[in-house]
């Protein structure tokens, strides 16, 4: 899939030369340790860098040149994976063989260079007005989570269950930490990011790997950097409370449950745990969906998910606020079935078929290819879907029951509608 070319110590270019897409996709990923402070500063940084730069000093000027380049999309996002915080420059541009105009690709590569290396500085710092505006934008982004009650409930549960743990630190950091970042600190963070972070550069489209690598080597001048020592994820600490009930002015109750599992992405039983999650609550044929939605008509959504970086499994359901206890009981009953190995051949085959389908489908988008390749890089040099597909194939019901038995319910969080309605 990807051809990898090392251009400096700690800087790799991965190119998938393919005619599958009408566009060319780039991602440049800057990887650093995940802390609240780092996440806060780097989120502001992402916004400031995508706002404007020395060559295009206003937001409007930068957006106009992108429009002129056939609506080339360019954005910088901040995300996390395990213990890592990742700032990614994402660019997608139309392959100019579909256009009457040529030379678009060179212009786009040059623009990517400008965005990363020609910041909008004034007296050696980021232009103050832009710095303040983007700081404020991140604060507002963090605040807006409250409006989406499913996301809010999940975040609340994580903060309560695993405070200060990478699993609960969000990629945007915290309001307090964002507000505390100074312009000076942001400049230091920026310099560290481009000079010291490990960098993975991806390109997908009808492009030659050597051409992309030599262009980046020649123009971007990435220097050697030390490979950060991979820190194993922190141990999961048992939460102080096992049940939390909170209220908001809303109609539906949001049930969120967190389970610990010793199995993570790096464990050889990772594929077994993926199947366990699928059989239990990952799909429309799963036990949670069939029993709680279809049989009991209690929920529109009810599902489980496996956060493999941390060894966590979650169950989410939207239910009537009066039915929390009943829902928890039903979820645990279904888990008990999995633990006992009461899994039909059909359930097992369906889950294997859908996991396989999902992986293959994800590889039908350029972003999917980049994300999956980047994620599996830790486990293997050259990711091939067959690697996972073959491992799923060999998993038995007994294997699934074994990993299910290792799950422990650590927190039940319920965000309920109005208090009076619940008591009614």
């Amino acid at each position: 899939m990807f051809e990898t070319i090392n251009i400096a110590k700690g800087v790799n270019v991965h190119v998938n030369e393919t005619t599958q897409f009408k566009t060319i996709n780039f991602s440049i990923k800057f990887k650093d340790k995940l802390t609240k402070e780092k996440a806060s500063a780097r989120s502001i940084l992402a916004n400031v860098l995508q706002h404007s730069n020395e060559v295009y000093p206003s937001h409007t000027a930068l957006r106009m040149v992108l429009d002129d380049l056939y609506g080339t999309s360019l954005y910088i996002d901040s995300s996390k994976r395990g213990n890592e915080h990742v700032v990614t420059l994402n660019v997608e541009t139309v392959n100019d063989q579909y256009l009457s105009e040529k030379g678009v690709l060179e212009k786009v590569l040059n623009l990517m260079y400008i965005v990363l290396f020609k910041p909008n500085f004034e007296h050696g710092q980021f232009k103050e007005s832009i710095f303040l505006r983007e700081k404020n934008a991140i604060v507002q982004r963090i605040e807006s989570v409250f409006d989406e009650k499913t996301r809010y409930a999940q975040q609340r549960m994580m903060e309560l269950a695993l405070p200060n743990h990478p699993a609960s630190i969000t990629s945007n950091g915290t309001i307090e930490d964002v507000e505390n970042v100074t312009n000076e600190q942001l400049v230091a963070e920026y310099k560290e990011m481009v000079a010291e972070n490990e960098i993975e550069i991806y390109a997908v489209g009808d492009v030659k790997p050597e051409m992309i690598a030599s262009h980046i080597r020649e123009f971007f001048h990435f220097k050697d950097r030390e490979k950060a020592i991979a820190v194993p994820p922190l141990e999961l600490v048992k939460p102080e409370q096992s049940h939390v009930l909170e209220y908001e002015d809303m109609k539906q109750g949001k049930l969120h449950m967190a389970f610990f599992t010793p199995i993570t992405f790096r464990d050889e039983k990772f594929p077994v745990m993926q199947l366990m999650n699928g059989v239990f609550g990952g799909y429309a044929h799963s036990k949670l969906f069939v029993n709680i939605r279809e049989k009991e008509s209690m929920a529109y959504y009810v599902s489980s998910s496996f956060a493999s970086q941390f060894g966590l499994m979650f169950v989410l359901a939207g239910i009537d606020s009066k039915l929390e206890e009943k829902a928890v009981k039903l979820v645990l009953e279904q888990l008990e079935e999995v633990k006992k190995g009461n899994i039909s051949d059909m359930e097992l085959d369906q889950t294997k078929a859908l996991l396989t389908n999902q992986l293959k489908e994800a590889l039908d988008s350029a972003r999917g290819q980049i994300d999956i390749y980047d994620q599996y890089m830790e486990l293997m040099d050259k990711f091939e879907p067959e690697f996972m597909i073959n491992r799923w194939k060999n998993v038995t019901k007994e294997d699934i029951a074994d990993v299910a038995q290792q799950l422990s319910l650590e927190m039940t969080y319920f965000l309920s509608g109005k208090e009076d309605e619940r008591d009614a």
Binding site: T18, T19, Q20, F21, K22, T23, S58, H59, M64, L66, D67, D68, L69, Y70, G71, E92, T93, V94, Y98, L99, R133, A137, Q140, R141, E143, S144, F146, D147, E148, K149, E248, D249, M250, K251, Q252, Y283, A284, H285, V290, R293, E294, E296, S297, M298, Y300, Y301, G318, I319, D320, M346, T351, A353, T356, N357, K360, E361, L363, D364, S365, A366
Partner: protein, 433 residues
């Protein structure tokens, strides 16, 4: 089978209208491992007043019935259709919009079987009073979930403001109360009226051999019997030009106010190439006025009147449409005033020339090319266009033909103040609780 080549885009589309009236489109995609198929009926939440198949008098059906029917199509006497798709490694789903109900799957294997499952389950209705009753609890939770989503309430709030009579103002899923009236008989009536193959489109895109796939669909359809197609009589009320409600506020559990400024277009009877041209011209005009490179955006963003949630949209169907501009904002009054100002200024003096048009046109072409990487986008958009007698692949040539005056004319249809409305969501006042 017709074969249409779009040379510049390097796409080939195969089409055939079958004897039973079903339109089948197949678009092979090289290099893709997945196949995506949608089977769509031109029947959505706005089709609530019609002459039922075989009848003579028009009837009205409960709100939310098209969506309810969509849910119930998945349940059969022998069980749940999801089970069958899962067994064949396919992810299946469905959605109901104002004008369409679509059933779909994506899969990387067993495509023939999955296509047959898709055709079979949508063409074999099975509704009983018991299964209908059981679904009410699930859909009630779905409605409740949407009720708690401020962005959904904002969207429907502004549409209710804009439309006085047209059923677009009714929530697609109905209400917890309205769905209680739905019976199995209702579902059969709606099904028989709107699910005739002549009212449907099958679109298959991805890793397929077009000849072989068309043969499979034809054989499948030839084995099934359908009544003779009749013209569907849908009844829509008259809709005044001006909006129903000028301004409305709702309180919800949100951290800051949310605003939508909505505009009801003046000409809502467009169809085919005229509709495509108008919609694209209006979208470009809105891009210039409210897009990321506009003076408005620059001003509003730098002053913190809008934030990252800012959006604008222009969307048109036959019989209804809307332009929406909105954001989360600490300054709803100022934001509304600025939007009004921007519109008013453009009415007084059209501020854009050829260069501006060229720029946003390039942006739009680029967006379209990017979207063509997505089988989902192609299938859904193509069907939406086809139901309005337009062709998705005409987008680029029509864009290339637009002139500045086209943008001005399109804008003129949405500039009159009586067609404008505002909906705001305010944080609940905590001290009153």
């Amino acid at each position: 089978m017709h074969k249409v080549e779009f040379e510049q885009l390097e796409e080939t589309l195969f089409h055939e209208k079958l004897d039973n009236g079903l339109n089948v489109y197949i678009l092979p995609k090289k290099g893709f491992s997945k196949t995506f198929a949608t089977f769509t009926t031109k029947y959505g939440s706005i089709d609530n007043h019609f002459v039922p198949q075989g009848g003579t008098e028009p009837i009205k059906v409960p709100d939310g019935i098209a969506h309810f029917l969509e849910h119930k199509m998945f349940e059969k006497e022998e069980g749940d259709v999801f089970q069958e798709f899962s067994k064949q490694g396919a992810s299946a789903n469905a959605f109901t919009s104002f004008t369409r109900t679509a059933y779909l799957f994506s899969a990387t294997g067993e495509i023939d079987k999955n296509v047959k499952t898709l055709l079979n389950f949508v063409q074999t209705p099975y509704f009983t009073e018991k299964t209908v009753e059981k679904e009410k609890g699930i859909i009630a939770q779905e409605i409740t979930m949407y009720d708690d989503q401020p962005d959904w309430r904002l969207y429907f709030g502004i549409i209710e403001n804009l439309y006085k009579n047209h059923p677009v103002k009714i929530d697609i899923a109905g209400t917890v109360e309205s769905i209680q009236d739905i019976t199995a008989e209702h579902l059969y009536t709606c099904y028989n009226t709107f699910y005739h193959p002549s009212n449907m489109v099958l679109f298959v895109v991805g890793n397929v051999d077009p000849e072989q796939m068309m043969k499979l669909v034809k054989e499948d359809q030839a084995q099934k019997t359908f009544v003779e197609p009749t013209e569907i009589k849908r009844i829509y009320p008259d809709e005044p030009k001006e909006v129903a409600i000028k301004e409305r506020v709702l309180e919800m559990s949100v951290q800051k106010p949310k605003v939508f400024y909505g505009i009801k277009p003046e000409k809502l009877d467009l169809i085919g190439p005229d509709m495509l041209k108008h919609e694209l011209a209006a979208q470009l005009a809105y891009e210039l006025l409210f897009g990321r490179t506009s003076d408005f955006y620059h001003h509003a963003y730098e002053n913190d009147w809008i934030d990252e949630s800012y959006s604008f949209d222009y969307s048109l169907e036959n019989g209804f449409g809307y332009a929406l501009i909105g954001s989360d904002t600490h300054k709803p009054e100022i934001l509304i005033k600025e939007i009004k100002h921007t519109l008013q200024n453009a009415v007084e003096k059209w501020p854009f020339g050829q260069e501006d048009l060229d720029r946003v046109r390039r942006k739009k072409i680029g967006f379209f090319m990017r979207a063509l990487n997505s089988p989902e986008y192609i299938a859904n958009q193509f069907t939406h266009y086809a139901f309005n007698d337009m062709n998705l692949f005409d987008v680029v040539p029509v864009l290339e033909g637009l002139e500045v005056s086209d943008l001005q004319n399109a804008f003129a249809l949405v500039s009159h103040e009586p067609q404008h409305s505002v909906f705001t969501i305010m944080p609940t006042k905590k001290d009153e609780q």
